[in-house]
Protein backbone atom coordinates (compact mmCIF):
# COMPACT_ATOMS: atom_id res chain seq x y z
CA UNK A 1 0.00 0.00 0.00
CA UNK A 2 2.94 2.33 0.71
CA UNK A 3 4.11 2.18 -2.88
CA UNK A 4 1.35 4.33 -4.30
CA UNK A 5 0.24 6.46 -1.37
CA UNK A 6 3.32 8.69 -0.95
CA UNK A 7 2.98 9.72 -4.58
CA UNK A 8 -0.70 10.52 -4.10
CA UNK A 9 0.06 12.52 -0.96
CA UNK A 10 2.77 14.42 -2.82
CA UNK A 11 0.36 15.34 -5.62
CA UNK A 12 -2.81 16.02 -3.65
CA UNK A 13 -2.38 16.01 0.13
CA UNK A 14 -5.96 16.98 0.95
CA UNK A 15 -7.36 14.44 -1.48
CA UNK A 16 -5.19 11.54 -0.28
CA UNK A 17 -5.02 12.25 3.43
CA UNK A 18 -8.21 10.35 4.26
CA UNK A 19 -6.72 7.26 2.62
CA UNK A 20 -3.57 7.66 4.72
CA UNK A 21 -5.67 7.68 7.89
CA UNK A 22 -7.86 4.78 6.73
CA UNK A 23 -4.90 2.59 5.86
CA UNK A 24 -2.78 3.30 8.94
CA UNK A 25 -5.24 4.16 11.70
CA UNK A 26 -5.42 0.69 13.26
CA UNK A 27 -1.68 0.17 13.49
CA UNK A 28 -0.99 3.71 14.72
CA UNK A 29 -3.72 3.37 17.34
CA UNK A 30 -2.44 -0.05 18.41
CA UNK A 31 1.15 1.17 18.81
CA UNK A 32 -0.05 4.01 21.03
CA UNK A 33 -2.42 1.74 22.96
CA UNK A 34 0.16 -0.93 23.66
CA UNK A 35 2.84 1.53 24.72
CA UNK A 36 0.61 3.63 26.98
CA UNK A 37 -1.90 0.95 28.02
CA UNK A 38 -4.69 3.50 27.99
CA UNK A 39 -7.32 3.66 25.24
CA UNK A 40 -8.29 7.32 25.58
CA UNK A 41 -4.61 8.37 25.57
CA UNK A 42 -4.09 6.16 22.53
CA UNK A 43 -6.96 7.74 20.63
CA UNK A 44 -5.64 11.24 21.33
CA UNK A 45 -2.11 10.23 20.38
CA UNK A 46 -3.26 8.55 17.15
CA UNK A 47 -5.14 11.71 16.11
CA UNK A 48 -2.09 13.79 16.94
CA UNK A 49 0.13 11.47 14.88
CA UNK A 50 -1.96 12.06 11.78
CA UNK A 51 -2.22 15.80 12.39
CA UNK A 52 1.55 16.08 12.69
CA UNK A 53 1.92 13.96 9.58
CA UNK A 54 -0.50 16.25 7.72
CA UNK A 55 1.34 19.40 8.75
CA UNK A 56 4.70 17.87 7.94
CA UNK A 57 3.51 16.71 4.52
CA UNK A 58 2.11 20.16 3.80
CA UNK A 59 5.63 21.56 4.23
CA UNK A 60 7.49 18.84 2.32
CA UNK A 61 8.60 19.17 -1.26
CA UNK A 62 6.89 16.74 -3.64
CA UNK A 63 10.10 14.80 -3.97
CA UNK A 64 10.51 14.40 -0.23
CA UNK A 65 6.88 13.32 0.20
CA UNK A 66 7.22 10.78 -2.63
CA UNK A 67 10.21 9.17 -0.97
CA UNK A 68 8.54 8.74 2.41
CA UNK A 69 8.39 5.27 3.90
CA UNK A 70 5.05 5.69 5.58
CA UNK A 71 5.08 2.65 7.89
CA UNK A 72 8.27 3.48 9.81
CA UNK A 73 7.62 7.24 9.54
CA UNK A 74 4.19 7.07 11.20
CA UNK A 75 5.49 4.53 13.74
CA UNK A 76 8.28 6.96 14.66
CA UNK A 77 5.80 9.75 15.36
CA UNK A 78 3.53 7.39 17.30
CA UNK A 79 6.35 6.01 19.45
CA UNK A 80 7.68 9.49 20.24
CA UNK A 81 4.27 10.84 21.21
CA UNK A 82 3.43 7.77 23.29
CA UNK A 83 6.76 7.96 25.10
CA UNK A 84 6.30 11.67 25.74
CA UNK A 85 2.87 10.96 27.19
CA UNK A 86 4.33 8.33 29.50
CA UNK A 87 7.14 10.63 30.58
CA UNK A 88 4.67 13.33 31.53
CA UNK A 89 2.27 10.97 33.19
CA UNK A 90 3.36 7.43 33.97
CA UNK A 91 0.00 5.76 34.58
CA UNK A 92 -0.81 4.14 37.86
CA UNK A 93 -2.00 0.56 37.51
CA UNK A 94 -5.55 1.84 37.89
CA UNK A 95 -5.14 4.00 34.77
CA UNK A 96 -4.40 1.02 32.60
CA UNK A 97 -7.55 -0.17 30.93
CA UNK A 98 -9.47 -2.50 33.16
CA UNK A 99 -10.72 -5.82 31.90
CA UNK A 100 -14.06 -4.38 30.87
CA UNK A 101 -12.29 -1.79 28.74
CA UNK A 102 -9.43 -3.96 27.51
CA UNK A 103 -9.57 -3.57 23.80
CA UNK A 104 -9.08 -6.70 21.78
CA UNK A 105 -10.18 -7.49 18.28
CA UNK A 106 -13.69 -8.88 18.34
CA UNK A 107 -13.88 -12.51 17.23
CA UNK A 108 -16.62 -13.35 14.79
CA UNK A 109 -19.23 -15.62 16.18
CA UNK A 110 -17.57 -16.22 19.54
CA UNK A 111 -19.80 -17.00 22.48
CA UNK A 112 -19.84 -14.50 25.35
CA UNK A 113 -17.71 -16.93 27.38
CA UNK A 114 -15.12 -17.18 24.62
CA UNK A 115 -15.14 -13.41 24.20
CA UNK A 116 -14.64 -12.90 27.93
CA UNK A 117 -11.75 -15.38 27.94
CA UNK A 118 -10.12 -13.51 25.05
CA UNK A 119 -10.48 -10.25 26.91
CA UNK A 120 -9.02 -11.72 30.07
CA UNK A 121 -6.06 -13.07 28.13
CA UNK A 122 -5.46 -9.76 26.36
CA UNK A 123 -5.71 -7.82 29.62
CA UNK A 124 -3.25 -10.23 31.24
CA UNK A 125 -0.65 -9.75 28.50
CA UNK A 126 -1.22 -6.02 28.37
CA UNK A 127 -0.46 -5.83 32.09
CA UNK A 128 2.71 -7.86 31.67
CA UNK A 129 3.75 -5.69 28.72
CA UNK A 130 3.09 -2.51 30.70
CA UNK A 131 5.41 -3.71 33.46
CA UNK A 132 8.32 -4.19 31.06
CA UNK A 133 10.98 -1.48 30.84
CA UNK A 134 10.48 0.86 27.88
CA UNK A 135 13.57 -0.49 26.05
CA UNK A 136 11.93 -3.91 25.76
CA UNK A 137 8.29 -2.94 25.49
CA UNK A 138 8.63 -0.64 22.50
CA UNK A 139 10.65 -3.03 20.29
CA UNK A 140 8.23 -5.86 21.14
CA UNK A 141 5.24 -3.73 20.16
CA UNK A 142 6.85 -2.69 16.90
CA UNK A 143 7.97 -6.22 16.04
CA UNK A 144 4.94 -8.28 16.98
CA UNK A 145 1.98 -5.95 17.30
CA UNK A 146 2.89 -3.71 14.36
CA UNK A 147 4.92 -6.33 12.45
CA UNK A 148 7.71 -3.98 11.39
CA UNK A 149 10.88 -5.49 9.97
CA UNK A 150 14.15 -4.97 11.80
CA UNK A 151 15.40 -2.48 9.17
CA UNK A 152 12.15 -0.54 9.68
CA UNK A 153 12.58 -0.70 13.46
CA UNK A 154 16.09 0.66 13.01
CA UNK A 155 14.56 3.65 11.24
CA UNK A 156 12.07 4.16 14.06
CA UNK A 157 14.31 3.67 17.06
CA UNK A 158 17.69 4.64 15.62
CA UNK A 159 19.41 1.51 16.88
CA UNK A 160 21.23 -1.24 14.98
CA UNK A 161 19.27 -4.35 14.05
CA UNK A 162 21.50 -6.51 16.24
CA UNK A 163 20.71 -4.45 19.32
CA UNK A 164 17.00 -4.50 18.55
CA UNK A 165 17.00 -8.27 18.00
CA UNK A 166 18.67 -8.72 21.37
CA UNK A 167 16.13 -6.43 23.05
CA UNK A 168 13.23 -8.26 21.44
CA UNK A 169 14.65 -11.62 22.49
CA UNK A 170 15.27 -10.43 26.03
CA UNK A 171 11.82 -8.85 26.16
CA UNK A 172 10.16 -12.10 25.12
CA UNK A 173 12.02 -13.97 27.84
CA UNK A 174 11.04 -11.40 30.44
CA UNK A 175 7.39 -11.63 29.36
CA UNK A 176 7.50 -15.41 29.45
CA UNK A 177 9.02 -15.36 32.94
CA UNK A 178 6.43 -12.84 34.13
CA UNK A 179 3.66 -14.97 32.65
CA UNK A 180 4.97 -18.11 34.36
CA UNK A 181 5.27 -16.27 37.65
CA UNK A 182 1.71 -14.99 37.35
CA UNK A 183 0.45 -18.50 36.66
CA UNK A 184 2.30 -19.91 39.70
CA UNK A 185 0.84 -17.14 41.82
CA UNK A 186 -2.62 -17.98 40.61
CA UNK A 187 -2.15 -21.67 41.41
CA UNK A 188 -0.93 -21.01 44.94
CA UNK A 189 -3.50 -18.33 45.70
Amino acid sequence: MDDELPGLLARDLDGAFERLVREHQHRVYTIALRITGNSSDAEEIAQDVFLRAYRALAGYTRERARQLRLRPWLATIAVNLARNRLRRHRPAASDIDSLSQAEVPRANGGTPQVELARRETAAHWQRLLADLPDRYRVPLVLRYVDELTYPEMTEVLGMPSGTLKAQVHRGLHLLRAAHDAAEREELTA
Partner: protein, 272 residues
Protein backbone atom coordinates in the same frame (compact mmCIF):
# COMPACT_ATOMS: atom_id res chain seq x y z
CA UNK B 1 2.36 -13.45 11.37
CA UNK B 2 3.52 -16.94 10.49
CA UNK B 3 6.95 -15.59 9.65
CA UNK B 4 7.41 -14.25 13.17
CA UNK B 5 6.39 -17.42 14.94
CA UNK B 6 9.64 -19.12 14.03
CA UNK B 7 11.86 -16.20 14.92
CA UNK B 8 13.30 -17.85 18.01
CA UNK B 9 13.62 -21.56 17.09
CA UNK B 10 16.23 -22.27 19.78
CA UNK B 11 13.78 -21.59 22.56
CA UNK B 12 11.92 -24.88 22.07
CA UNK B 13 8.62 -23.11 21.59
CA UNK B 14 8.54 -21.48 25.01
CA UNK B 15 8.54 -18.04 23.40
CA UNK B 16 5.99 -18.94 20.72
CA UNK B 17 3.23 -18.54 23.29
CA UNK B 18 4.40 -14.99 24.04
CA UNK B 19 4.73 -14.12 20.37
CA UNK B 20 1.23 -15.35 19.65
CA UNK B 21 -0.14 -13.42 22.64
CA UNK B 22 1.49 -10.20 21.43
CA UNK B 23 -0.02 -10.64 17.98
CA UNK B 24 -3.43 -10.90 19.63
CA UNK B 25 -2.94 -7.40 21.05
CA UNK B 26 -3.55 -5.82 17.65
CA UNK B 27 -6.63 -3.67 18.03
CA UNK B 28 -8.88 -1.79 15.61
CA UNK B 29 -8.98 1.97 16.07
CA UNK B 30 -12.20 3.47 17.48
CA UNK B 31 -14.72 4.36 14.78
CA UNK B 32 -14.50 8.05 15.72
CA UNK B 33 -10.77 8.32 15.04
CA UNK B 34 -11.05 8.80 11.27
CA UNK B 35 -13.81 11.46 11.26
CA UNK B 36 -12.29 13.28 14.23
CA UNK B 37 -8.88 13.34 12.57
CA UNK B 38 -10.32 14.73 9.34
CA UNK B 39 -12.09 17.47 11.31
CA UNK B 40 -8.91 18.28 13.24
CA UNK B 41 -6.98 18.59 9.96
CA UNK B 42 -9.66 20.86 8.50
CA UNK B 43 -10.71 18.36 5.82
CA UNK B 44 -14.18 17.89 7.28
CA UNK B 45 -16.42 19.94 9.56
CA UNK B 46 -18.81 19.46 12.43
CA UNK B 47 -21.74 21.62 13.33
CA UNK B 48 -24.25 22.34 16.01
CA UNK B 49 -27.09 24.80 16.56
CA UNK B 50 -26.78 27.68 19.02
CA UNK B 51 -29.33 30.17 20.30
CA UNK B 52 -28.77 33.83 19.50
CA UNK B 53 -30.70 37.09 19.59
CA UNK B 54 -31.88 36.14 16.08
CA UNK B 55 -33.00 32.68 17.16
CA UNK B 56 -31.25 29.40 16.41
CA UNK B 57 -28.33 29.49 13.96
CA UNK B 58 -26.05 26.76 12.60
CA UNK B 59 -22.35 26.94 13.56
CA UNK B 60 -19.77 24.80 11.73
CA UNK B 61 -16.12 24.39 12.66
CA UNK B 62 -13.04 22.27 12.09
CA UNK B 63 -9.56 22.08 13.58
CA UNK B 64 -8.61 25.42 12.04
CA UNK B 65 -11.53 27.33 13.49
CA UNK B 66 -15.13 28.31 12.83
CA UNK B 67 -15.96 27.93 9.14
CA UNK B 68 -19.49 29.31 8.97
CA UNK B 69 -22.43 30.64 10.93
CA UNK B 70 -25.71 30.76 9.08
CA UNK B 71 -29.44 30.35 9.20
CA UNK B 72 -31.15 27.42 7.50
CA UNK B 73 -34.65 25.97 7.38
CA UNK B 74 -33.43 22.63 8.75
CA UNK B 75 -30.33 20.50 9.08
CA UNK B 76 -30.70 18.95 5.64
CA UNK B 77 -30.82 22.37 4.01
CA UNK B 78 -27.81 23.48 6.03
CA UNK B 79 -25.73 20.39 5.25
CA UNK B 80 -26.54 20.58 1.54
CA UNK B 81 -25.62 24.26 1.36
CA UNK B 82 -22.44 23.69 3.34
CA UNK B 83 -21.22 20.92 1.05
CA UNK B 84 -21.94 23.05 -2.01
CA UNK B 85 -20.15 26.07 -0.58
CA UNK B 86 -17.14 24.37 0.99
CA UNK B 87 -16.84 21.02 -0.80
CA UNK B 88 -16.14 19.22 2.46
CA UNK B 89 -18.08 16.57 4.38
CA UNK B 90 -19.97 17.76 7.44
CA UNK B 91 -21.68 15.97 10.29
CA UNK B 92 -23.62 17.05 13.33
CA UNK B 93 -21.65 17.05 16.57
CA UNK B 94 -23.10 16.04 19.89
CA UNK B 95 -21.66 19.23 21.34
CA UNK B 96 -19.26 22.04 20.55
CA UNK B 97 -15.76 21.89 22.08
CA UNK B 98 -16.13 23.61 25.45
CA UNK B 99 -13.47 26.29 24.87
CA UNK B 100 -14.94 27.21 21.48
CA UNK B 101 -18.45 27.34 22.91
CA UNK B 102 -17.32 29.66 25.69
CA UNK B 103 -15.47 31.94 23.28
CA UNK B 104 -18.43 32.23 20.90
CA UNK B 105 -20.84 32.89 23.78
CA UNK B 106 -18.52 35.60 25.11
CA UNK B 107 -18.23 37.19 21.66
CA UNK B 108 -22.00 37.16 21.19
CA UNK B 109 -22.29 38.81 24.60
CA UNK B 110 -20.11 41.64 23.31
CA UNK B 111 -16.68 40.62 24.63
CA UNK B 112 -14.32 41.58 21.80
CA UNK B 113 -11.31 40.08 23.63
CA UNK B 114 -12.74 36.55 23.42
CA UNK B 115 -10.58 34.75 20.88
CA UNK B 116 -12.65 32.78 18.41
CA UNK B 117 -10.46 30.85 15.95
CA UNK B 118 -11.60 31.29 12.35
CA UNK B 119 -10.89 29.10 9.33
CA UNK B 120 -9.71 31.76 6.88
CA UNK B 121 -8.94 29.42 3.98
CA UNK B 122 -10.17 30.65 0.62
CA UNK B 123 -10.61 34.21 1.87
CA UNK B 124 -8.70 37.09 0.34
CA UNK B 125 -6.40 39.27 2.40
CA UNK B 126 -8.74 42.19 1.66
CA UNK B 127 -11.74 40.29 3.05
CA UNK B 128 -9.77 39.29 6.12
CA UNK B 129 -8.67 42.90 6.69
CA UNK B 130 -12.30 44.07 6.47
CA UNK B 131 -13.58 41.41 8.85
CA UNK B 132 -10.78 41.93 11.36
CA UNK B 133 -11.46 45.66 11.35
CA UNK B 134 -15.17 44.99 11.94
CA UNK B 135 -14.12 43.04 15.03
CA UNK B 136 -12.84 46.26 16.55
CA UNK B 137 -16.29 47.85 16.65
CA UNK B 138 -17.66 47.50 20.18
CA UNK B 139 -21.14 46.18 20.88
CA UNK B 140 -23.66 49.04 21.04
CA UNK B 141 -21.78 51.07 18.44
CA UNK B 142 -21.83 51.27 14.62
CA UNK B 143 -19.42 52.53 11.98
CA UNK B 144 -19.95 53.49 8.32
CA UNK B 145 -18.66 51.30 5.48
CA UNK B 146 -16.36 54.17 4.54
CA UNK B 147 -14.83 54.06 8.04
CA UNK B 148 -13.72 50.47 7.47
CA UNK B 149 -12.37 51.37 4.01
CA UNK B 150 -10.31 54.24 5.38
CA UNK B 151 -9.14 52.33 8.45
CA UNK B 152 -7.70 49.47 6.35
CA UNK B 153 -5.96 51.91 4.03
CA UNK B 154 -8.30 51.48 1.05
CA UNK B 155 -10.43 54.66 1.29
CA UNK B 156 -11.90 54.29 -2.20
CA UNK B 157 -12.91 50.66 -1.77
CA UNK B 158 -16.19 51.40 0.02
CA UNK B 159 -18.26 49.22 -2.31
CA UNK B 160 -15.75 46.37 -2.00
CA UNK B 161 -16.00 46.68 1.78
CA UNK B 162 -19.76 46.19 1.47
CA UNK B 163 -19.23 43.14 -0.71
CA UNK B 164 -16.72 41.66 1.73
CA UNK B 165 -19.08 42.23 4.66
CA UNK B 166 -21.89 40.58 2.73
CA UNK B 167 -19.61 37.55 2.31
CA UNK B 168 -18.76 37.42 6.02
CA UNK B 169 -18.82 33.66 6.75
CA UNK B 170 -19.31 34.04 10.50
CA UNK B 171 -21.79 36.85 11.14
CA UNK B 172 -22.52 37.72 14.78
CA UNK B 173 -19.01 36.56 15.77
CA UNK B 174 -17.50 38.94 13.20
CA UNK B 175 -19.96 41.78 13.82
CA UNK B 176 -20.64 42.97 10.28
CA UNK B 177 -24.04 44.08 11.57
CA UNK B 178 -22.21 46.98 13.28
CA UNK B 179 -21.33 48.49 9.90
CA UNK B 180 -23.97 50.82 8.44
CA UNK B 181 -24.39 53.26 5.59
CA UNK B 182 -23.04 56.76 6.09
CA UNK B 183 -26.46 58.21 5.24
CA UNK B 184 -27.92 56.58 8.32
CA UNK B 185 -29.71 53.64 6.73
CA UNK B 186 -28.61 50.49 8.43
CA UNK B 187 -27.93 48.74 5.12
CA UNK B 188 -28.04 45.11 4.05
CA UNK B 189 -27.35 42.07 6.20
CA UNK B 190 -26.33 38.60 5.07
CA UNK B 191 -27.89 36.77 8.00
CA UNK B 192 -31.55 37.23 7.21
CA UNK B 193 -31.69 40.78 5.84
CA UNK B 194 -32.03 44.31 7.31
CA UNK B 195 -34.79 43.27 9.73
CA UNK B 196 -32.39 40.96 11.52
CA UNK B 197 -29.70 43.63 11.46
CA UNK B 198 -32.07 46.00 13.22
CA UNK B 199 -32.99 43.32 15.77
CA UNK B 200 -29.41 42.49 16.67
CA UNK B 201 -28.33 46.14 16.87
CA UNK B 202 -31.25 46.95 19.13
CA UNK B 203 -30.39 43.92 21.29
CA UNK B 204 -26.91 45.40 21.66
CA UNK B 205 -28.33 48.72 22.80
CA UNK B 206 -28.15 50.80 19.62
CA UNK B 207 -31.01 53.29 19.21
CA UNK B 208 -31.48 52.43 15.54
CA UNK B 209 -34.51 54.68 15.00
CA UNK B 210 -32.75 57.64 16.63
CA UNK B 211 -29.65 57.00 14.56
CA UNK B 212 -31.66 56.95 11.33
CA UNK B 213 -33.55 60.13 12.26
CA UNK B 214 -30.29 61.90 13.04
CA UNK B 215 -28.63 60.85 9.81
CA UNK B 216 -31.83 61.59 7.89
CA UNK B 217 -31.47 65.20 8.94
CA UNK B 218 -27.87 65.20 7.73
CA UNK B 219 -26.29 65.23 11.21
CA UNK B 220 -23.45 62.75 11.23
CA UNK B 221 -21.29 63.77 14.19
CA UNK B 222 -21.83 64.52 17.84
CA UNK B 223 -19.58 66.83 19.85
CA UNK B 224 -19.18 68.12 23.37
CA UNK B 225 -18.85 71.85 23.90
CA UNK B 226 -16.83 71.21 27.06
CA UNK B 227 -14.18 68.87 25.64
CA UNK B 228 -14.36 70.32 22.08
CA UNK B 229 -14.18 66.75 20.75
CA UNK B 230 -16.47 65.31 18.08
CA UNK B 231 -17.39 61.64 17.61
CA UNK B 232 -19.54 59.30 15.59
CA UNK B 233 -23.00 59.35 17.23
CA UNK B 234 -22.80 55.85 18.75
CA UNK B 235 -19.27 56.24 20.13
CA UNK B 236 -19.20 55.60 23.86
CA UNK B 237 -17.71 59.06 24.36
CA UNK B 238 -20.55 60.70 22.40
CA UNK B 239 -23.18 58.87 24.42
CA UNK B 240 -21.72 60.27 27.64
CA UNK B 241 -22.27 63.88 26.56
CA UNK B 242 -25.28 65.41 28.36
CA UNK B 243 -27.98 67.11 26.31
CA UNK B 244 -26.97 70.53 27.63
CA UNK B 245 -23.48 70.19 26.16
CA UNK B 246 -24.28 68.14 23.05
CA UNK B 247 -23.48 69.70 19.65
CA UNK B 248 -24.36 68.15 16.27
CA UNK B 249 -22.39 68.57 13.04
CA UNK B 250 -23.21 67.84 9.42
CA UNK B 251 -19.63 67.25 8.42
CA UNK B 252 -16.13 66.80 9.69
CA UNK B 253 -15.24 70.12 8.15
CA UNK B 254 -17.96 71.92 10.04
CA UNK B 255 -16.71 70.44 13.30
CA UNK B 256 -13.06 71.29 12.72
CA UNK B 257 -13.92 74.77 11.48
CA UNK B 258 -15.67 75.37 14.78
CA UNK B 259 -12.56 74.29 16.67
CA UNK B 260 -13.42 70.70 17.49
CA UNK B 261 -10.97 67.81 17.14
CA UNK B 262 -11.78 64.22 16.21
CA UNK B 263 -12.24 61.61 18.95
CA UNK B 264 -9.29 59.26 19.24
CA UNK B 265 -11.52 56.31 20.12
CA UNK B 266 -13.97 56.24 17.20
CA UNK B 267 -11.70 58.17 14.82
CA UNK B 268 -14.57 59.94 12.97
CA UNK B 269 -12.20 62.01 10.86
CA UNK B 270 -11.81 59.09 8.53
CA UNK B 271 -15.52 58.53 8.34
CA UNK B 272 -16.65 61.28 6.06
Amino acid sequence: MTGLATEHPHDDGSLALVEAALVELRTPAPAALLPNTLVAAGLADQYTVIETALGPVFVAWNGRGVSTITEAADKTAFETRFRQAFGRPIRRATSMPAALGRAIAARLAGDRRARVPVDWRGRTSFEQAVWKKALEIPAGEVRPYSWIAREIGRPKAVRAVGTALARNPIPLVIPCHRVVRVDGHIGEYGLGGPKNKRTILQAEGVDVDGLERLAGSGLRYTGSDTTRIFCLPTCRNARRVTAAHRVRFHSEREATTRGYRACKVCRPAVAA
